[in-house]
C-alpha cells in the first residue's frame, strides 16, 4: 500500500484534542503513523487552506438485509423511487456514502436466519468497512434465559451465535412482538407477559443489556423502542431508560483498544419517540446519565422514502392512515417480523415536522459525545442530504430558511423556533466521526487521526479560519457536497468527482469473551432446541466466509 502524506491541512481530530491546527497526516500501510521509515514512494496531497477530518462512521443504517430487498422490490416499479434512490443498489449506497466522507457503515437489524443474505451483500458492498447488528429480541432459544437469572448461559450461547454469523453486536427491537400472530394486535405495554411467553419485553431489554456487558462486546446494546412515531413510544422510552438505569450496569467492553465506549445503552433514531415535540424528559435523563447515548435520526423530507421496520405500531399507523404504498410483511423463522413499504414525509404534516425538529432539538441540547448523526438510512433521509442537515445544526439561518414552509401549527408551537443555539464545526465532527466510532467501540481506529488509527480521512475545501459557518452555511454545505478527497487506509477512494469502487472493505465482527462456563453443555441444549423446533440445525447458522475480509474486534 502506498504511503500517503496529507500536508498543511487544518486538522480536526476530537479524540486527540486537535481543533483546527495545521498538521500533517502521515499514513503508511493503512495506518496513521508519525514518520515514514523510508522517503520513497510517498503520495502527497497538499491540503493547504483546506480542512482535514477523519472519515465518517455510520452507526445505524439499513443497507444489507432481506427487508431492504423487499423495499427495493416495491420501489422498482415506482418512478419517484427510481429517480431518487437508483434502485438502492449496493453500488449506489457505497457511492453515496463515500461521497459524503464515510468509510464505515453498520447494518442495524438482521435476524439470525437471514444473516447469510447480509454477509453476501456486505461482501459485495464495495470499499466500505462494515458490520451488522444481530436482532436477538425474539429468540425462542433464549426463552429460559429471558425468564430467569441465567446471564452466563445466555451469553455463552449468544457469543457462539455471533461467531457463527459474524455479527458485531446485539439489537434489541420489539421483543417477541411477532408472537401476537394477528397482524392487527398492537401491544400496549412493555411490562406485561405475553400469552405465549412468561417474561415481559422489558425483561428482554434487561437481559440483552446484561448479555452484552457480560460478553464485553465493543458496542453496547443497540435499542429500538417499541411504538416509535406513535404516541406509545414516549412512555415506552422513559420506562426502558429508567429500567436500564436501575440495572446498575457498567460498560465492560473487553476489546484491546485504548478508546472504549462509555455507554451501556444506545438508543436508535432518538427523533422518533417524542411525537408531542417535547424532548425535555429525554434530554434531562441524557444530561444526567453519561452512560446513555443515541443516534439522532434526522428527517430529510425526500420525495419518497422506503420504510424498513419491524415495528407493528408504526405499520398499523400507516395502514390506518391509508398509506397508498403496498406492504410486504414477513415472519422469519420465529425470530421476528419484518415489514417493508414506502412512504412520504411532508413538511405540511405536523408530525413529520415534529420529528424533524426533535432530531435538531436533541442535537442542540445534549453533549455531542453522547450523540451520533444518523438518518435511519434510508427510512428518514438520504445520505446525500447530509450537507443540508448539517447546515441546520451549525446555522440558525439555515434552519429558519428551511422551516419557512412547514406546517403552520407546528411553526406556532414548536420550541425549536426560538432556539438560536448552533453547533460548532468540531461538534459536527464529533457527531459524525468520533462519537459513533467511540460508541461502536472502535474509537481507536475510526473517526480518529491519531497514531495507529486506520488511515481514513476527508479533505474539505473549507477554511474555518476565514469562514463563519454559522453565517456562511452555503460554503459549509458546498464543502460537504463536494468533498475533495476521501481516503481509506491511505488509498484514495474519492478524488474530486472520481470515485474508485475497486476495493473491498472488511467485515468487523465480535463475539465477546464469555466467562468460563460449561460451553459444551450449554450449546448442546441449544442444538437440541434447534433440532426440535427449527427447520435447520443450529450448525447451519455457520457462515462460510473468506477470512481475508473479516476483522475481529473481540
Amino acid at each position: 500500500m502506498p504511503k500517503l502524506l496529507v500536508k498543511n491541512g487544518f486538522v480536526f481530530d476530537p479524540f486527540n484534542n486537535i481543533e483546527g491546527e495545521k498538521k500533517d497526516i502521515l499514513i503508511n500501510d493503512g495506518k496513521v503513523v508519525d514518520k515514514f521509515v523510508s522517503s520513497s514512494n510517498i503520495k502527497e496531497i497538499d491540503a493547504k487552506g483546506k480542512t482535514v477530518i477523519p472519515a465518517a462512521v455510520e452507526i445505524h443504517a439499513h443497507i444489507a438485509s432481506q427487508q431492504l430487498s423487499w423495499a427495493r422490490l416495491i420501489g422498482s416499479d415506482n418512478q419517484d423511487f427510481h429517480n431518487h434512490w437508483n434502485g438502492l443498489t449496493l453500488n449506489a449506497i457505497a457511492k453515496d456514502y463515500i461521497s459524503n466522507g464515510y468509510t464505515f457503515i453498520v447494518e442495524a437489524n438482521v435476524f439470525p436466519s437471514l444473516t447469510k443474505q447480509t454477509i453476501f451483500d456486505l461482501q459485495r458492498l464495495p470499499v466500505l468497512d462494515k458490520a451488522f447488528l444481530l436482532n436477538t429480541s425474539n429468540l425462542w432459544a433464549l426463552e429460559l434465559e429471558f425468564q430467569k437469572e441465567m446471564v452466563a448461559e445466555g451469553a455463552v450461547f449468544l457469543s457462539n451465535l455471533l461467531e457463527k454469523v459474524k455479527a458485531f453486536g446485539l439489537k434489541a427491537y420489539d421483543p417477541f412482538e411477532a408472537e401476537y400472530w394477528n397482524w392487527k394486535v398492537v401491544r400496549k405495554s412493555l411490562t406485561e407477559k405475553g400469552r405465549l411467553f412468561n417474561f415481559t419485553p422489558m425483561d428482554v431489554y434487561e437481559k440483552l443489556s446484561r448479555f452484552v456487558e457480560h460478553l464485553g462486546l465493543p458496542h453496547s446494546i443497540h435499542a429500538h423502542i417499541e411504538g416509535y412515531e406513535t404516541h406509545y413510544s414516549k412512555e415506552n422510552l422513559l420506562r426502558t431508560l429508567i429500567k436500564v438505569k436501575s440495572l446498575g450496569l457498567k460498560p465492560n467492553p473487553k476489546n484491546d483498544f485504548g478508546i472504549k465506549r462509555s455507554q451501556i445503552f444506545h438508543l436508535a433514531h432518538g427523533s422518533s419517540y417524542n411525537m408531542d415535540g417535547d424532548n425535555s424528559e429525554l434530554i434531562k435523563i441524557y444530561n444526567e446519565n453519561q452512560d446513555f447515548d443515541m443516534d439522532l435520526g434526522f428527517i430529510g423530507f425526500n420525495a419518497l422514502n422506503p420504510l424498513i421496520t419491524s415495528d407493528r405500531h408504526l405499520i398499523t399507523k400507516l395502514i390506518n392512515s391509508a398509506n397508498p404504498y403496498k406492504l410486504i410483511r414477513s415472519s422469519v423463522e420465529s425470530e421476528g417480523d419484518s415489514f417493508a413499504t414506502l412512504r412520504k414525509f411532508s413538511k405540511k404534516k405536523k408530525e413529520d415536522c415534529i420529528m424533524w425538529a426533535n432530531a435538531i432539538d436533541l442535537a442542540l441540547s445534549i453533549t455531542p459525545w453522547q450523540l451520533q448523526f444518523s438518518i435511519n438510512y434510508p427510512n428518514y433521509a438520504d445520505i446525500i442530504n447530509l450537507p443540508e442537515i448539517a447546515s441546520w445544526l451549525i446555522s440558525n439561518n439555515a434552519r429558519e430558511q428551511y422551516m419557512t414552509d412547514m406546517e403552520s401549527s407546528f411553526l406556532k408551537g414548536n420550541s425549536l423556533i426560538s432556539n438560536s443555539k448552533v453547533l460548532t464545526f468540531n461538534d459536527f465532527i464529533i457527531l459524525t466521526r468520533s462519537s459513533p466510532a467511540k460508541s461502536l467501540g472502535i474509537g481507536s481506529i475510526k473517526g480518529n487521526l491519531g497514531l495507529g488509527a486506520d488511515g481514513d480521512l476527508n479533505i474539505l475545501n473549507l477554511n474555518l479560519n476565514d469562514t463563519d459557518i454559522s453565517r456562511d452555511y452555503e460554503k459549509f454545505k458546498s464543502a460537504l457536497v463536494n468533498i475533495e478527497y476521501v481516503i481509506k487506509a491511505g488509498g484514495i477512494i474519492k478524488d474530486h468527482e472520481k470515485i474508485n469502487l475497486n476495493s473491498s472493505g472488511k467485515v468487523f465482527w465480535a463475539s465477546g469473551k464469555p466467562e468460563k462456563e460449561d460451553i459444551k453443555s450449554i450449546l448442546t441444549k441449544k442444538e437440541v432446541f434447534y433440532q426440535k423446533y427449527y427447520s435447520n440445525f443450529y450448525n447451519s447458522y455457520n457462515t462460510d466466509i473468506n477470512k481475508e475480509i473479516l476483522r475481529k474486534i473481540v
Partner: protein, 435 residues
Amino acid sequence: MKRFTCSGCSLLCDDIIVQSDGLFISEVMGACLKGKERFDQVSAKNRITSPLIRKDGELKEVSWDEATKKAIEIIKNSSIPLLYGFSNVSCEAQDVGIKLAQKINGFIDSNASICQGKILNKAKSLGINLTTITEIINKGDLIILWGANPAETVPRLLNKVLFSRGKFRMTGREIKTLVIVDPIKTASFRVMGVRDLPLIIEPNKDIDLIRMLKEECCSVDSIPSQGVAGIDKNDLKRLLLHLTGAENGVIILGQGVIQPHPDYNLVEELLELLQMINERQEKGRISLLLMGGHFNMAGFDHVALSSFGVSGKLEFKHNQLIKTDDTLVSKIEKENFDSSIIVGTDPISHLPHSLSSKIAKKPLILIDNHHTATSHIAEVVLPTAITGIESGGLAYRLDQVPIELNKIINPSNNLPSDEELLNQLYRLINQGGSE
C-alpha cells in the same frame, strides 16, 4: 459421515448424511427421491464431463480452450444476447451471470420469471404476507396447497411442515389441517386425514372460488347452495371457517395458480383475497409460501435486487441497465435476441414449442451438468461442477431463507463451478475488449 445440505430442490434440507472421502460419495442417507437423484447425478450415465462443440450436426468433445473460444466467438458476434436459467446455480454464479449480461449488452432473466417470480411481481402492486418453514412448523394450524403438488416436486415439504411437532403445535399432525385445492387428485392427496379438506376444483374455476370467498368473506351465510367451481356448499363452508379462524395459516402456491387467463389475473385476485382475510381476521393470520422447485429460484431475485434494484428481466446497453418492456417470453416470441446463453436449465424441454423453436434457431451456449433436450440443440456445451456436491455457494430456500451449500467432493474431471466458468467468460470478453 457428515451432515450436508441437499440441492435436490428448493427445500434445501440440511440433514442429509453423506459418507465421502472427498473424492467419491459412497453413501447418502436421509435424502428423498429427488435428493437421491441429485447425488446420483455425479455419476449419471449422461453426465457431461468435457466441453462439446457441434461439428457437422454432432456434438464432439473438444478442449476447454476450443470450447471457450467458440463460446466467446458466438458472444462477440451477437449484439443482443439472451441469458436465461440461473435457478440451478449458486447466488455467486447468479451475480457473475448478471455482470456478464451487463458486459455483453444482454438480457438476463431466471426461471423465476415464468414461475414464482410472477407472484413477487404482483406483490409490488398489491403487497404480500410471507412466512417461513420454521414458522409453519411451530405455529401453523392450517396448510392449504393451492395448485401445488409438493409430493412430486418438493417431497419432504409436507413432512417438515405438516407432520412435525412445533413449539406451539406439540400435537403436530393432529392439530394441523391440510386443505388441497386442485383439479386433479395428485399424490399430495395421499396424506389427507379425516379432518382434512380435499377440494377437487373444476379446471379453470379457481377464479370462481376466490371471488366467492371475497364476497362471502367471513360470513358463511350466503354460500350458494349448489356450491362453487364443483365444490359443494359444506366444503366451502369448512374452507371459509378454516381461513377466517386459523391462528396461523399458510397457502402454498404452485404452478396451478400462476396460469394466465385473458379476462382476469388469478394471482392478483388471490393476493387481494388474502389482504381481505388478514384485515378481517380477528384470530390470526394467513401467509403465503411460494413453491418453486428449482433449488435456487428464489436467489436470483435477491441478487438482482441488490445489484440493480430490479428482480428480473434485466436488459443492458453500454454497461447500463435500461428500462425495458420486454419479458423473457416477449424477447423470444419477437425473436428479439440473436444468441442465447442457457445456464442450468432445459428450455427446449420446458418452454412451449413456439418459443423453444425460436431459441433453437439461434446459436446457443449451454452451461449445465448433463445432457438435456437443450444440449441436443446447443452449439457449445460447457459442463460445470454440480452445485451443492462438487462446489459450494449460497442458495435461497423456497421461503426466502438463505442457506449455504457445501462442496463435498472434488468435481469430476476438474470441472469448474458455474461461478468460475462464468467468471472466465467474463474475463475473456473483457480482455478481448468486445462489445
